[in-house]
């Protein structure tokens, strides 16, 4: 817990969704999804492919407009806002495909959208991100498309931090990365959490998620079927077996 956190900070959720329904065309993807994420809290979002994890993150980010329900960031209504407004309000997104701009250098990727966060706080600077990811510092002049998958993921996380967000949404945090790089990403995510940034993390690796997050959500066919602490999820072997395929 960040020492600077005030009582007011910790009392109210940083991000909250109430009875959100979202569609792709005619397909009803998210069904009455309600979630809340407290300040400084890392929460995992689990589920098999096609269950709506990415759609939920995209809806929270404002990239997909919900048909009903409400999304609030620190109590402010964000429902139906453009993604740029949502981002400026303090949500950052690291997509599964990383969304690194191939025709920008590493440093340009990091700086072109950088800005102070709430209360003009600018905790995350280029130096701090380079400190977190020394490999990015080495490759600062390389083009985005000259990076390995792991470096791109680091760049996408660093770029999200440079917007000084309240909360980061991370889709498939370590999918397709080499084991060593995965460990590096997980270590970084723990550091980010310790630094007081809330997160929703999607990944397939349960053990790492258990180590990072104390609360977990399981989504099945667009519905949140489980939302609880690590111990409760570990105890529910049937749920893990049926919906997480472990």
């Amino acid at each position: 817990m960040n020492a600077a956190a005030t009582a007011e900070d910790t009392a109210a959720p940083v991000l909250q969704a109430d009875a959100v329904n979202a569609y792709y065309g005619q397909s009803h993807i998210l069904r009455n999804v309600s979630i809340r994420v407290m300040p400084h809290e890392a929460v995992s979002l689990m589920g098999r492919n096609g269950m709506g994890k990415t759609t939920l993150l995209r809806t929270l980010m404002g990239l997909l407009r919900p048909r009903s329900g409400a999304i609030r960031l620190r109590g402010a209504d964000m429902t139906g806002e453009r993604a740029s407004a949502v981002a400026r309000a303090g949500i950052a997104f690291v997509p599964e495909d990383r969304g690194v701009f191939p025709n920008l250098t590493v440093e340009e990727n990091l700086t072109f959208a950088a800005r102070p966060g709430r209360d003009a706080r600018a905790d995350w600077t280029l130096e701090r991100v380079y400190g977190l990811f020394p490999r990015l510092a080495e490759r600062r002049s390389n083009w985005g498309n000259q990076l390995s998958g792991g470096e791109q993921k680091m760049l996408a996380i660093g770029r999200a931090l440079m917007t000084n967000p309240e909360i980061i949404l991370l889709d498939e945090a370590t999918e397709g990365l080499a084991p060593k790089v995965r460990d590096e990403i997980w270590a970084t995510l723990r550091l980010i959490t310790e630094a007081g940034i809330a997160s929703i993390v999607v990944d397939k690796n349960l053990d790492d998620l258990f180590e990072l997050a104390h609360r977990h959500m399981v989504i099945v066919k667009g519905e949140i079927v489980f939302d609880g602490p690590t111990a409760a999820l570990r105890a529910d072997e049937a749920l893990i077996h049926r919906h997480l395929g472990v």
Binding site: L63, P95, G99, P102, L104, E108, F112, T163
Partner: protein
């Protein structure tokens, strides 16, 4: 030999002019995803602004300085009124609306300026010619046009390569959604890009007016050649537009002199040759 030199100068100067016109077209196509058939109309707008503003201010360069912001504001208004409704629509609808805009702009041109061709005076201090040899000379104004085009092209490249807005433009070229998700309102970014494209095309029209005179339909010729440039250079590539425009300029200049019977097809033959060997254009991403 002098003839070759003259054609090189003519080709480069014409190429630079169509580069200015085509750069906006390729940016709008590459970043906004819009096929803008009315882009030639903005060159025409520049030509007629040149006519009116030069008569007001008495100097083509003052007309250029005033005309660029006017064209930028006009472009922003057109984007807001029409173009922004096309971003999520298919190319057929884009082509229909922007073709409709050509008809509207041409009619407005007739109402405001009439159907007579006009000429725009070259300022006295640039009306001289440089003697290249005993028998050949080259007008100073054409050299000045080349220099202005180079300055504008350098300024544009500097903005795209070195500034934050340039980084946003490049980022928007590869992944608009991610740009938006990073907190950049792409509505404003796109309006800026469109308006800048209009201003560049108009700038070309303004400085070209004293060379080629001002007449109805001037935009259509530029539109077609600009599309050829975009196809040759590769969609969305400014570098491609520059190389494509210079190639077209030189092919056109030399074609007129050395293959006069085939002059009108030389640039299209060049385009066909590029399409056969590099379907995505010289600098396009396949």
């Amino acid at each position: 030999m002098e003839l070759v030199l003259i054609q090189i100068l003519n080709g480069l100067q014409y190429g630079l002019l169509i580069f200015l016109a085509a750069s906006g077209l390729t940016l709008v196509f590459g970043i906004l995803g819009i096929i803008n058939l009315s882009h030639g109309s903005f060159y025409m707008l520049g030509a007629y602004l040149s006519l009116t503003l030069t008569s007001w201010f008495g100097d083509i360069f003052l007309a250029l300085a005033a005309g660029i912001p006017i064209a930028f504001a006009f472009g922003a208004a057109i984007e807001w009124l029409f173009i922004r409704h096309l971003y999520n629509r298919d190319h057929l609808q884009q082509v229909l609306l922007t073709f409709g805009l050509i008809l509207v702009f041409n009619e407005l041109q007739r109402i405001l300026w009439g159907t007579q061709p006009h000429s725009v005076p070259i300022p006295a201090y640039l009306s001289a010619s440089i003697q290249l040899s005993d028998t050949l000379s080259y007008p100073v104004y054409r050299l000045a046009v080349g220099a202005i085009c180079i300055l504008l092209a350098l300024a544009m490249m500097l903005v795209i390569q070195k500034t934050r807005i340039g980084q946003m433009i490049r980022a928007g070229e590869s992944n608009r959604e991610m740009v938006e998700a990073l907190g950049i309102d792409t509505r404003i970014l796109f309006r800026f890009v469109f308006a800048a494209g209009v201003a560049l095309a108009a700038a070309a029209g303004i400085v070209a007016a004293p060379i080629e005179s001002v007449y109805p339909g001037i935009g259509e010729r530029v539109l077609i050649i600009s599309f050829v440039v975009v196809v040759i250079g590769g969609i969305g590539s400014i570098k491609g537009a520059l190389v494509g425009a210079l190639l077209i300029g030189l092919a056109d200049a030399f074609g007129k002199v050395f293959l006069p019977q085939l002059a009108s097809v030389v640039v299209y033959a060049l385009m066909a040759a590029v399409l056969v060997t590099r379907p995505a254009g010289l600098f396009g991403r396949a």
